[in-house]
Amino acid sequence: MKTLFTLAFCIVALSSDAQDRKLEHLDIRTSTVCDMCEKTIEENLIYERGVKSVSVDLATSAIHVEYDARKTDASAIRTAVTKLGYAADDLPGDEAAFKELPACCQKEGCGKMPEKKE
């Protein structure tokens, strides 16, 4: 029992340490159309090195990313977004990846945002 609590304490200490690191925020304009797109981006971008949280806002087609500036930077994250088949600010989505997206995400041309000026 005692060891359990010691272990629990250590893990709490460890996780609070993780929260203390300074995080950068980044907003990326993208080309999402549906909640499948939201899922694809959120479930994949989080695997990128240094990325701490990802949230997609479908209404404004924006990706909000929190990241650790010591491990990655904004351009690396944008490139990661394009590799999923989606546009990232001025970068177009990767063609091959776009063709792999769920059908609903291809309909309105998720990957071709740069022409769509806001």
Binding site: L7, I11, L14, Q19, K52
Partner: protein, 757 residues
């Protein structure tokens, strides 16, 4: 012991005698409780003076006649004489059944079941199995739905009844709480057969959580909780049909029909039928590999829901009939002239009938003045009758239960924290009697009343969640038990979590139904002392990490659990191969499990899962700490799944690996009726392909494709009424490869706006 020694001696004689040409056998008469040995019956060769009389066991031994064929005549007072023509010397002991002269009832037929082991896979402490996963497994009933999962093991329990049982953390499924939308459901008399009485298609998803369960749903969760979520009438399509058939003669059909009954309410009718009328005996032991079954299962669910209130009423009726044992074909149709004398006249019969009626009602409402507070009431009523015959044994059980749970729920702080508290009441009335030929009927009927109270607090902070709960239950038969529970979850990173859990749980045992498999044996049931509650502590930790490596997404999980019993009803098969002894644990009993699991997305279409489990499950049997029988120390699972981009084609193949496990000791049996001390390691393969187009889905699959078979499933299969018969020592598959095919049809909902009245 003297009696065993004597029988031992008799059996040896029989085999030695056979080489010398003696004819041996047994004479049985019918009684209201099944066949009984006839003592002093006359057995002689027609037209000669060569004869013998049966002994106290009804057995005889006879010098062979001068010439074959010969007619063997058996007479007994008050019974019709029997004459059997023997073409030549029988190779096994004869069983001769005499009918009472006033009783013209037909001779009954027997059955037996077979075994297969299956498995699922898991990662987290809590795991959700959705319909997609459920469809990947073959079908049919819920115990089979776990076949592609690593958390839950599925196995046949005996060679006769066709019942599959599950195991969690290395322990039987009865130590997990299996609930239906938070109502304890698989319990009491249904604790072994319950899952087979829930069709897989009725389930929307399954929440599996390992370790001590939540305090709210009852004290029962000792190894984990399996909560089944049924299809929701409000979401279901108007019509769904599933038809399934396999090459072993099993047919299943499911029909679901949903109908709106108002703006916020809907009704869902679920009908399931199962039929198997093909006798099959792949290992030629004279016993059916699977019982003949007839099952009907009907549920009606009505549900309403709006912002402030929700309620539902569910009624279910299930009737399941199984017939197995020695094949009727075997008895009716001689296997060939040379076997004519081999044909038993009295067949070992197995019949297991279950009938269940369930009524479940739920009502919940949110407080009008304060929407952060709500209150819910759950009520469940059940009547379950079991009637079973295993050869000369007969078990009758009736369970009448009532359950009520009142839960108050309130959000705390900024709405992240939560408090749940409430009261529960469980009433159970059990009538259970086991009748055996020579022993006094064993009556384990009882009434239990158990009021309880509970509270549970959930604390959510950034990266940390803590659920602490406690419940106290006052059982009027077994006393008061307090069960604290605690779960903690730590988010160590965006893709990394660790969990800890600790808790106490208890249950009252129903040892006869829980060990129903052993009834298919000649083991004498012995109860020593007063049996009490089963209580255990569970302590566990798990770790899950997802990451990207080699440009692929990986998930790595590991968990370790320990369940320690402080009280347990021990079912001892090791004392003697002729006995099943029940007594309260004296000494240590624990189950340690270690699961390691890796998943990788090979491409977007291909997924690979690998898992390994290590179990160390031991119990003190008569002062000796032994491995639990039939529990492989190592288990492995490899699963490869494919789905094309539009999920038109889906493909799944699963390899299950089973390590060695201990078998109950058969050292006291005659040499040819002994099993090895440990079962060998083996592997099974399942595969399934699904193609969907529009409302149609077609599936084709196979189970146990390598045809792995436990060769010797029944001890003394040729003498089922003898002292060494045992069909319960099952460690591996009892069926060879099986192929199945089926289709599903879903009539999609019209646009939500066109809700018909």
């Amino acid at each position: 012991m003297f009696r065993i020694a004597l029988l031992f001696h008799l059996l040896l004689c029989a085999s030695i005698g056979h080489t010398q040409g003696s004819i041996t056998g047994r004479v049985l008469g019918a009684s209201s409780e099944g066949p009984v040995p006839l003592i002093g019956a006359n057995v002689y060769w027609a037209g000669t003076t060569t004869g013998a009389a049966t002994d106290t066991e009804g057995r005889f031994r006879l010098v062979p006649p001068a010439n074959w064929p010969a007619t063997l005549v058996t007479t007994y007072v008050g019974h019709l004489p029997d004459s059997t023509v023997l073409i030549n010397a029988p190779t096994a002991a004869l069983a001769i059944a005499l009918r009472a002269s006033l009783d013209l009832q037909a001779v009954e037929v027997v059955e037996r079941v077979s075994g297969t082991q299956l498995d699922l896979r898991t990662i987290n402490a809590t795991e959700r199995i959705g319909q997609k996963e459920l469809k990947r497994a073959a079908c049919c009933d819920l115990s089979e739905s776990f076949e592609t999962n690593a958390t839950v093991d599925v196995s046949y329990s005996d060679a006769v009844s066709g019942t599959k049982t599950i195991r969690m953390l290395g322990l039987d499924g009865r130590y997990a709480q299996i609930s239906l939308e938070n109502i304890p459901f698989v319990r009491g008399l249904s604790s072994t057969s319950g899952l087979t009485l829930i069709p897989g298609t009725w389930i929307k998803d399954i929440n599996l959580s390992k370790g001590a369960g939540t305090a709210v749903n009852g004290p029962h969760a000792m190894t984990g909780q399996i909560d089944l979520c049924l299809l929701n009438p409000l979401d279901e399509p108007p019509l769904f049909v599933n038809v399934y058939g396999n090459n072993q003669g099993r047919l299943e059909a499911n029909v679901h029909a949903a109908q709106p009954t108002g703006k916020h309410s809907a009704n869902l009718l679920l009908v399931h039928g199962n039929l198997n009328r093909v006798e099959m005996d792949q290992n030629h032991d004279g016993f059916m590999d699977m019982p003949l079954t007839e099952r009907i299962n009907v549920m009606d669910r009505w549900m309403y829901m709006n912002e402030r209130r929700s309620g539902q009423l569910t009624v279910r009726y299930a009737n399941d009939r199984r017939r197995g044992g020695q094949s009727a074909m075997h008895g009716a149709e001689p296997l060939g002239e040379e076997h004519a004398g081999h044909r038993p006249l009295m067949l070992y019969d197995i019949a297991v009938d279950n009938e269940l009626v369930d009524v479940v009602a739920k009502h919940g409402r949110v407080f009008e003045q304060d929407p952060t507070k709500s209150i819910g009431l759950l009520v469940a009523l059940r009547r379950h009758s079991v009637s079973s015959v295993y050869g000369l044994r007969n078990y009758q059980g009736l369970q009448q239960s009532a359950y009520a749970n009142l839960v108050y729920q309130q959000l705390l702080g900024k709405g992240t924290d939560q408090l749940k508290a409430g009261l529960s009441f469980q009433f159970d009335d059990y009538d259970e009697v086991l009748r055996d030929t020579l022993v006094q009927p064993l009556d384990v009927g009882r009434v239990e009343r158990m009021p309880g109270a509970f509270a549970e607090h959930t604390l959510v902070r950034k990266g940390f969640t803590l659920v602490s709960g406690i419940r106290a239950d006052v059982n009027d038969r077994y006393g008061t038990a307090v069960s604290p529970r605690m779960h903690a979850k730590f988010d160590l990173g965006p893709l990394t979590t660790a969990r800890l859990s600790v808790g106490h749980g208890f249950r009252s045992a129903n040892p006869l139904v829980e060990n129903a498999a052993v009834m298919a044996s000649a083991r004498r049931v012995v109860v020593e002392g007063e049996l009490g509650m089963e209580r255990a502590w569970n302590l566990g930790a798990s770790f899950l990490h997802k990451f990207k490596w080699l440009d692929r997404k990986w998930a790595f999980g590991m968990d370790v659990y320990r369940t320690t019993f402080t009280q347990q009803v021990v079912a001892d098969l090791d004392r003697s191969p002729q006995q099943l002894a029940f007594y309260m644990l004296r000494g240590a009993s624990f189950a340690n499990s270690l699961l390691t699991d890796v998943q990788v997305e090979l491409t977007r279409r291909w997924q690979l899962k690998l898992s390994h489990r290590y179990y160390d499950v031991r119990t003190t049997y008569d002062g000796r700490l032994l491995e639990r029988p039939f529990t492989p120390v190592h288990r492995g699972l490899i699963d490869l799944a494919y789905a094309d981009r539009k999920e038109r084609w889906r493909f799944d193949v699963t390899l299950n690996l089973f390590g060695e496990g201990r078998l109950p000791s058969t050292a006291l049996n005659p040499e040819d009726l002994r099993l090895p001390e440990r079962s060998p390691a083996y592997a099974t393969v399942h595969a399934q392909v699904t193609y969907s187009t529009g409302p149609w889905e077609f599936y084709l699959g196979g189970e146990n494709l390598t045809g792995t078979l436990q060769q010797r499933q029944i001890l003394a299969a040729d003498d089922p009424f003898g002292p060494f018969f045992d069909a319960s020592l099952i460690w591996g598959p009892t069926n060879r490869a099986m192929a199945y095919a089926g289709l599903r049809f879903t009539l999609a909902k019209q646009t939500p706006a066109t809700d018909r009245p």
